[in-house]
């Protein structure tokens, strides 16, 4: 297996140009996601979905303490503990040699179990063909030694691609620089291996609470409790069986 790779998206230098959205769609041949004027700042994409694998959020924050227009390019987090992978019955979702999570379109049967399993609401089924789609971290490009299309297109290096460990170091440095510059609200999101998903393969530097960007504050892999649930279910089955057995063994009483 190769070294684990991922994205570090530094939203403090995102200029909201959406080149990532376009490059992603061009490279991966993702269809348009509808032509809907949403009247939500400059965001007419809405969110990640089957036909949107990079989504730039625009948050207008004009208050007494200052004027901010936050922009952030969201993407599949390629979780360490990926629930989508756990629940996929066909093996369409798999972990690649780069430690990224990819859906194989020719195997996916459209059961949709992965959709509610994702703690971030990333993976989604396409209405017309029923299958599930999401960011592949440009698996085909990685195999050819190229960086993913979104990172390649990003003019300000807001989207950085590389070995995850290296990205984490870079992110820590950037965070320190921003804190030093007085940007106290800067924080990392998804970089900690001890979080609810075991750390994200795609993590972020945010300038506000995750909820502001539409990200869950404390995501937990939805299959975390599966083993214990099986345990409880098993115990329940055992006690039920014991109860039944007991009932029959003793026989009816008069």
């Amino acid at each position: 297996m190769s070294e684990r790779v991922g994205f570090f998206t530094d939203t403090s230098v995102c200029i909201g140009c959406k080149a990532c959205e376009v490059a992603c769609k061009e490279w991966n041949d993702v269809p348009d996601d509808g032509f809907v004027f949403r009247a939500t700042s400059y965001d007419n994409t809405g969110g990640l979905g089957a036909s949107t694998w990079r989504h730039v959020a625009f948050i207008e924050d004009f208050t007494e303490r200052g004027d901010r227009w936050l922009m952030s390019s969201d993407v599949c987090k390629h979780c360490t503990h990926a629930a989508c992978l756990d629940v996929c019955p066909t093996g369409a979702l798999f972990r690649t040699e780069f430690d990224t999570i990819v859906v194989q379109a020719d195997i996916c049967n459209g059961c949709g179990y992965c959709v509610p399993a994702c703690p971030y609401g990333v993976i989604d089924r396409r209405e017309d063909d029923g299958r599930a789609w999401k960011c592949t971290l440009c698996y085909d490009r990685l195999r050819d030694g190229l960086e993913p299309a979104c990172a390649k297109a990003c003019p300000t290096d807001s989207i950085q691609f590389g070995p995850l460990e290296e990205l984490r170091e870079r992110a820590a440095e950037r965070l320190a620089t921003l804190h030093e510059a007085g940007v106290a609200e800067a924080r990392l999101y998804g970089e900690r291996p001890d979080d609810g998903v075991g750390g994200d393969g795609a993590f972020f530097l945010l300038l506000d609470e995750p909820e502001v960007y539409g990200l869950p504050p404390d995501p937990v892999v939805t299959t975390r409790d599966l083993p214990s649930m099986w345990l409880w279910a098993g115990a329940a089955a055992v006690s039920m069986a014991a109860a039944c057995f007991g009932a029959f063994a003793r026989g009816p009483r008069r």
């Binding site: 230098v13 200029i15 809907v36 400059y42 007419n44 207008e60 004027d67 227009w69």
Partner: protein
């Protein structure tokens, strides 16, 4: 810049990461503002007040870079005692002629100056000069002025340029900025302090602008104002300084260098005028000065004529100067449109533009198109300009009927930028060669293919009449390649570069000769094919060369990356500071040296003094960096050349909701107007059009949308025409976010979805609240688009800057109503109602 030039903006982000402070001055809070250290919202059309106040701040506080100013600018020059400032004449300079709304600039000249011939021409009422956009012809150089004016090095003479500046801008105060721009005094002070602190020996400040500065009736004067400020602070010709013009789109710089403009020839030489330039000698007598590098204009022009007419151009026949077409006045794009409406223009080529949507006064554009005999449109998709006759807004209102339109429309599919080879010239004057990635599909062909084969067909039909001689004798012999007989773009580039007597490619415009022994299609591009190598195709990565990266592409002239870089050294040729060292004089090797190509004669020592009567570059002193100017100086005060005054002055836009509190003269008196029924103006008085309208572009789309509305991946990102309004105005008018609004001027009423945003802020101007409405102009009703919408340019009137004939797209007035616009005849009725009131 992040909004319209996101790729270039990466360098601003890099500068920011290295500690640069970024101020963003814009009516709206844009994606650039989001990244800036400070955003200063400004009322559209008031920038000269802001720049003037910065100039005043520098002068009042004696913050100017005095050694630089004294040595390199015309600050000490004495101006004619006949000169009167706008302060004396309530908003007019001396020389204004009310009967034809133009200036006689004679009184602006240096004291004691013999009026040169060119000035005589201007003095004849300025009519011919102003009437043919001559002020635009000075291009990279300047008009002629006396090479050695009287000076006062103490800068105390009340008629020296420095004192005239101080007098002119004295009333441009922070208070006035607050009053007219809507920028609070504290914000202005922060900006003023920052640029002063960041200029001088050790530091430099750059200004970056785009069409937000140019598309005004005083657009050229906006840039002049920035030039004055930058010269005073010593920020020109030095690394990290400058005034950086971001062009409208790819290779617009190239289309002025090798112009698609009516008034200039390649390399910013004036287009010959029928009344003035009968012979080559007449032309050379008028065009530009005799001192400075324009002094070699004979070599530039004769080489151009030789490139075009080859062996047939000889000294005996004026090198075929007589073959050159002549202009007789205003043949600009808007004059052409009115000519179409009036029936004097019968045919029209539209190449890579969409004027029915993308040019000001959309209705006038379409009325013109509908009155042609023939129209050729070459584009990637059938844009609105090609389909107006069946689906245009005037068809909807019943004003035009398809059956009545006689225009024969030829739509020819064009090859895109990846389907053809050639160069782009970008904003830094950098030529970058592109390979053809794929063959164009079907019948799509490059513009080069089109013009070349059209030329061949025309030449086949040329008779032996005198009238056809220019066509017969034209050199038109490019090698053909591929199955479609594409002419070689490299051969064209080589022809532009020029060749010497031996037929080999030239390497410098210094090698051009006045005797017809050299050929060159554009003198400033000479060297792009030096050593028979396509220098524009060079792609050495930046990390493998110096910071200046001279081996990435090729910049005109002579691969210089910073113009006038002689100014990066002090008069003695030493760096102003180690930190800002760039081009310096090496006294041992007796030459200028540095990481860039010196923009100076390499071996001209700093102490060179021109002998009396010297011409061309020999007349430029060793400490005069501005080598294209006749006096080698940066002009704080323009003694000649501008159609609307020697100094920038605040005038209100043609349409504005507030009075000019500075002068009795409200708008620029020399602005170019076309007052006709098909181009009405909103009344300036009254309350019918109370809001400021400004138009602009978005990252997601390209200009009039021909290249983006048809692409799903772009169109979905901004799928509908919208307008941006402040929450306050939305509340006042009852506009709902996501709902509809109708925007009305005396030209048109269009509808747009409403985007309510605190990014648009009401401003306090002249004691009242001024609301600004922002509209992007990317949409049209068809155009092969996946997304359609009304065209913002329909709202605008046609009124131009008198120097360069650009339209005022950035500031107008309008009214706004909630809801969608009426359809059909009711739409015209609504507009008529507004025009009556």
């Amino acid at each position: 810049m992040a909004e319209c030039h996101p790729v270039g903006f990466q360098w601003v982000m890099e500068a920011k990461a290295r500690g640069a402070k970024v101020f963003h001055i814009d009516p709206r809070f844009t994606r650039t503002s989001a990244m800036a250290d400070a955003h200063l919202p400004i009322r559209a059309g008031s920038d000269i007040v802001l720049l003037g106040a910065l100039i005043n701040h520098v002068l009042k506080g004696a913050h100017d870079f005095r050694e630089y100013v004294l040595a390199y600018t015309n600050a000490s020059a004495i101006i004619s005692e006949d000169f009167r400032d706008t302060e004396d004449l309530d908003g007019l300079f001396s020389g204004f002629q009310a009967d034809n709304a133009s200036y006689d600039p004679a009184s602006w000249s240096y004291e004691g100056e013999d009026v040169p011939r060119e000035r005589e021409e201007q003095a004849r009422g300025g009519r011919v000069h102003a009437g043919s956009a001559s002020a635009d012809q000075y291009g990279s150089g300047g008009p002629s002025a006396h090479p050695t004016p009287h000076t006062d090095p103490t800068l105390t003479d009340r008629r020296c340029v420095y004192q005239l500046l101080a007098y002119h801008f004295a009333r441009y105060t922070p208070k006035l900025v607050e009053e007219l721009c809507g920028i609070p005094r504290a914000d202005f002070q922060r900006l003023a302090n920052a640029i002063v602190a960041n200029s001088g020996r050790e530091r430099t400040t750059a200004w970056v602008y785009s069409v937000g500065w140019t598309q005004h009736t005083v657009g050229a004067q906006y840039i002049r104002a920035a030039s004055i400020l930058q010269l005073l602070l010593g920020n020109i010709g030095r690394p990290g300084g400058g005034i950086l013009a971001l062009r409208g789109h790819a290779s617009i710089q190239g289309s002025t260098d090798i112009p698609t403009l009516f008034n200039i020839l390649p390399g910013y030489m004036p287009m010959p005028h029928a009344e003035l330039h009968e012979t080559l000698e007449d032309y050379l007598g008028y065009a530009a000065g005799d001192t400075g590098f324009w002094g070699n204009k004979r070599s530039y022009l004769v080489s151009l004529l030789k490139a075009w007419w080859g062996d047939s151009a000889t000294a005996d026949n004026d090198f075929r100067f007589g073959y050159m077409p002549r202009i007789t006045g205003d043949h600009g794009t808007y004059a052409t449109v009115f000519g179409q409406i009036d029936g004097t223009v019968k045919g029209y080529f539209v190449i890579g533009e969409n004027p029915a949507v993308g040019s000001a006064g959309g209705r006038a554009q379409r009325l013109g198109l509908a009155n042609l005999d023939w129209l050729v449109v070459r584009d990637l998709v059938p844009i609105e300009t090609a389909t107006f006759w069946k689906d245009g807004p005037e068809i909807e209102t019943g004003e035009l009927r398809t059956a009545d339109i006689g225009t024969e429309v030829f739509f020819l599919p064009a090859a895109s930028h990846v389907e053809k080879e050639g160069t782009f010239t970008q904003t830094q004057r950098l030529l970058q060669w592109r390979e053809k990635a794929v063959e164009p599909p079907g019948d799509c062909r490059s513009d080069l293919w089109f013009y070349y084969h059209l030329g061949k067909l025309l030449r086949e039909r040329a008779g032996d009449t005198e009238m056809d001689a220019p066509l017969r004798d034209l050199t038109w012999d490019y090698p053909e390649e591929g199955e479609h007989a594409d002419p070689s773009a490299e051969a064209v580039l080589r022809e532009i570069n020029g060749t010497g007597p031996d037929g080999r490619a030239l390497s410098s415009y210094l090698d051009l000769a006045p005797d017809g022994s050299t050929r060159c299609g554009c003198w400033i591009y000479c060297g792009v094919f030096a050593d028979e190598v396509n220098q524009a195709a060079r792609r050495k990565p930046g990390r493998e060369q110096s910071l200046v990266a001279p081996e990435w592409g090729w910049a005109w002239p002579l691969n210089r990356r910073i113009l006038y870089n002689r100014a990066s050294a002090d008069p003695q040729g030493r760096p102003w500071s180690e930190r800002k060292s760039y081009i310096v004089w090496d006294p041992d090797r007796r030459e200028w040296t540095g990481p860039d190509v010196p923009d100076f004669e390499k071996d001209k020592p700093p102490d060179y003094v021109p002998p009396p009567g010297a011409t061309a570059q020999a007349a430029i002193a060793g400490d005069a960096p501005f080598i294209m100017q006749t006096d080698g100086k940066g002009w704080l005060f323009a003694p000649a050349g501008l159609a609307d005054g020697p100094l920038p002055t605040h005038y209100e836009p043609d349409e504005s909701p507030v009075p000019n509190t500075l002068y009795g003269t409200r708008a620029s008196p020399a602005r170019k107007t076309y007052r006709r029924p098909d181009n009405p103006a909103n009344p300036v008085a009254g309350t019918r059009f109370p809001y400021v309208l400004t138009t602009y572009r978005l990252t997601e789309h390209h200009t009039a949308g021909g290249m983006s509305r048809s692409l799903a991946h772009l169109a979905e990102l901004q799928p509908e025409m919208f307008c941006e309004v402040s929450p306050q105005l939305a509340a006042e008018l009852g506009l709902d976010n996501g709902g509809w609004a109708t925007i009305i001027t005396s030209r048109a009423a269009i509808e747009a979805r409403v985007l309510v945003s605190a990014r648009v802020r009401p401003l306090r101007v002249a004691g009242r609240t001024v609301h600004q409405i922002g509209v992007p102009y990317h949409w049209g009703w068809a155009g092969g688009g996946l997304v359609t919408g009304d065209a913002a340019n329909d709202l605008l009137g046609i009124v131009l800057d008198p120097n360069v004939y650009i339209q005022e797209s950035k500031a107008a007035t309008c009214d706004v109503l909630p809801g969608r616009r009426p359809r059909g005849a009711a739409l015209r009725a609504l507009i008529e109602e507004y025009r009556r009131e």
